[in-house]
Amino acid sequence: MARPTRTPTDHVHNRLAVLRAERRISRQDLADAVGVHYQTIGYLEREEYSPTLALALRIAQYFTLPVEAIFSTEPFAPMSDVLYKAPGGQS
């Protein structure tokens, strides 16, 4: 059997910090709402911890967003690029 290796997809990127800042929610409030310790929110935001599917879904439910809008195995593009870059790559 081949030795399991850590692939790049083990790392989960997220937009938690942006969402939390945008909605002016403290780490403690978010932590209480999704049932984790407030430091865990910090580790998630710094991408030092990848959440379980259950936690990712609870966070998505809290923000009323699809889970893929918050978490991704690929790095997210900066919000300014997403909002202002014209289709076709010209700004």
Partner: protein, 168 residues
Amino acid sequence: MTHDTSLPDRSSPVDPVARHADVLLRDRRFDWLRPRVRRRAVVAGALVSIGGVAAACLLDLPWLVVLTLAPAWGAWWLLQRVVRGMADLPDPYVDERMRQVRNAHYRTAYVLLAGVTVLTLFGVYVAADARRVQFVLQARHLHALFWMVQLLALMLPSMLVAWNEPEV
């Protein structure tokens, strides 16, 4: 089968474990001790306190053993606060990241404790068996070993968590 990954309601006024968990997890009085360097200093202090108990046993002075157990107990108490009881609280009272960190460190702690115990016993055996070294295994040696293993078993998981957790 589903596994609840959220923290339970820790506000129960009747469950003493829940109250204790709530105090440990929300306590910010010890935040000044939680930067990595200070956490590691607490770990070093805990190791010194364990060494102190073992040394007192080797000197065969019971009053000194009792005296050195006090700082060891203090080190254990402080470790609990520094890592918020992450290594010792029952599963339902810690969140999924804490459980993951705790499980990883318990495995390491088990290997380390087994290694230290086996190596020490092997050293004692070799010393007792060597023709050139005058060594007679006495009760004080066994007392030292007993307390060292007991205290390491009690503190090692918290020590590893305190040593390895990233900067908050």
